[in-house]
């Protein structure tokens, strides 16, 4: 073992782990309050975009005629078909929600 190795080892060992002992908590207490998230602005933008898209769809679809046509077609479907469609839609939405919830809870655990 040469002298430099010996010095390096001794220097590393001369720096033991320092216990936190409330240090992190003291730092956190001094942090400025978290920035206000722009949730309201985000909601306004999303609702505004949705409203504009609806107006646009209404205008380009001949006064929303496609909606009444689709409803008429749905009304003409057999009841079993309507039930099947509703069930499938519900399952897809539930699966998407569960996946999102699981991934979010995993992220918060790590």
């Amino acid at each position: 073992m040469n002298q430099e190795d010996w010095l390096d080892r001794e220097l590393r060992e001369a720096a033991p782990y320092i216990d936190d002992e409330g240090f992190t908590a003291r730092v956190l207490q001094q942090l400025p309050p978290p920035r206000r998230r722009h949730d309201l602005l985000r909601a306004v933008i999303l609702l505004g975009m949705a409203f504009l898209a609806s107006v646009l769809a209404y205008v380009v679809s001949d006064g929303g005629r496609f909606v009444s046509v689709t409803l008429e077609r749905l009304a003409a479907l057999p009841a079993l078909w309507v039930f099947g469609l509703a069930l499938a839609s519900g399952l897809v939405i539930a699966a998407a929600g569960a996946t999102a919830a699981i991934s979010k809870s995993r992220a918060s655990l790590t």
Binding site: M1, N2, Q3, E4, D5, W6, L7, D8, E10, L11, R12, E13, A14, A15, P16, Y17, I18, D19, D20, F23, T24, R26, V27, L28, Q30, L31, P32, P34, R35, R37, T110
Partner: protein, 183 residues
């Protein structure tokens, strides 16, 4: 799976997630406080004050962390700047004050033996050599990383490490590797 420093920094940046920042503090508090304790010649209260300042400054300036270096290197640089600014205020940036060193409270003095002699020898080094030795030999930074932290040329870091080691060897001649093996 444990999040990396980069993941935690991203959370602080995007969501201003103080929980993520607290994890970063928890991970790095020991090394930053240890470095500052050595730089301040084991003035624990001052070192911890400077460490707090360093972490607060890191939080406020986290947008300037571009991920080019390791987060710890960036943090060491902030900590070193805090120390340097404080030392400038105290007008003790250059050289060593032997008289002050004799009277200074030094918890290591209670531990006789090699560790005590090593810490004492380290404290006798000029600040530039001590800093280079602490970063490269004790905290495992490369010469290049130490140059970034200390904001000095790479060649100067290498010279300071070399000179510091030579001085430590001379001061610890009685504790050569053969003697250590026998302990």
């Amino acid at each position: 799976m444990e999040l990396t420093d980069a993941d935690l920094v991203a959370r602080v940046l995007v969501d201003d997630d103080q929980h993520a920042f607290s994890e970063l503090v928890r991970r790095h508090q020991s090394s930053v406080r240890g470095l500052l304790r050595q730089l301040t010649r084991t003035d624990i209260a001052l070192a911890d004050d400077l460490a707090q300042q360093a972490f607060l400054r890191a939080y406020k300036n986290i947008r300037s962390f571009r991920g080019e270096a390791r987060f710890s290197t960036w943090l060491y640089r902030i900590a070193y700047n805090c120390f340097r600014e404080d030392a400038r205020r105290r007008k003790e940036l250059v050289g060593i004050d032997e008289e002050q060193l004799q009277t200074q409270h030094d918890p290591q003095a209670a531990d006789p033996g090699l560790r005590h002699d090593l810490m004492r020898a380290l404290n006798l080094l000029p600040l530039n050599e001590r800093s280079a030795i602490l970063l490269c030999c004790q905290n495992g930074l490369s010469h290049d990383e130490a140059a970034r932290v200390l904001d000095i040329p790479l060649g100067t870091v290498k010279t300071n490490v070399l000179r510091g080691r030579e001085k430590l060897k001379r001061m610890l001649a009685d504790w050569g590797p053969h003697q250590v093996k026998q302990i």
